[in-house]
């Protein structure tokens, strides 16, 4: 299950449902397993690009 979550094959909530755990507990479980997140570089870059676009200081340049 941890591998599936780490690869992004399933969401945290889907993993929690399968494990029959509250979402918060599933998050702790994955942290304990050394899986602190699963966002890939592509999504991270797109999110950071949006943050830069939304910044008023960037917009005013």
């Amino acid at each position: 299950m941890g591998d599936n979550y780490a690869r992004g094959d399933i969401s945290l909530r889907e993993a929690a449902e399968v494990l029959d755990l509250p979402l918060r507990e599933a998050l702790e479980l994955f942290w304990d397993m050394g899986i602190s997140g699963n966002v890939d570089a592509d999504k991270a870059f797109k999110a950071i690009s949006l943050a830069e676009k939304k910044s008023s200081k960037t917009r005013s340049l």
């Binding site: 909530r13 509250p22 999110a47």
Partner: protein, 147 residues
């Protein structure tokens, strides 16, 4: 900026000590299910961040918004994800914030803009609202502000 935030993003920002900086600069709303996951269930299990998030709700620096749309067909999603998307679609929000690759992929498929916890901090850094030498968690510093 106005965001709808998912549980994993809110919890990670809280545990990293970055939540207060985010909430002071970004208007953040959460659906009732996210409140249940991050406050009610966390408190039962003794997670300190549940109490801190509850305090943000009491101080109205974080807002619980009812997910009005009962059904939306934009994307296949779990109930929690549906609530987050429903709140986003029912208001004038700039983006959804999550740290779950699968959910972000679904958001992208539905053309819903998204941020991650790191991107939220990038926004604050761009706005000059945080001192990157002190407030950004050590693990994220180089990634966000070049050191």
């Amino acid at each position: 900026m106005k965001l709808v935030m998912d549980s994993d993003c809110l919890v990670k920002l809280a545990k990293a000590g970055a939540k207060e900086a985010i909430l002071s600069s970004i208007e953040v709303s959460i659906p009732a299910l996210v409140k249940k996951e991050t406050v009610d269930e966390a408190k039962v299990k003794g997670h300190q961040d549940g109490l801190i998030i509850e305090e943000n709700l009491s101080k109205k620096t974080l807002h619980v918004v009812e997910a009005k749309r009962k059904k939306q067909s934009l994307m296949a999603a779990t109930k929690g994800e549906e609530e987050v998307v429903s709140v986003y679609l029912s208001g004038t929000y700039d983006a959804v914030a999550s740290d779950d690759r699968r959910f972000l992929k679904r958001l992208e498929s539905a053309n819903i803009p998204f941020l991650t916890p790191t991107a939220c901090l990038v926004y604050l850094c761009e706005e000059g609202r945080i001192d990157h030498t002190e407030e950004i968690p050590q693990a994220w510093r180089g990634e966000i502000c070049g050191g």
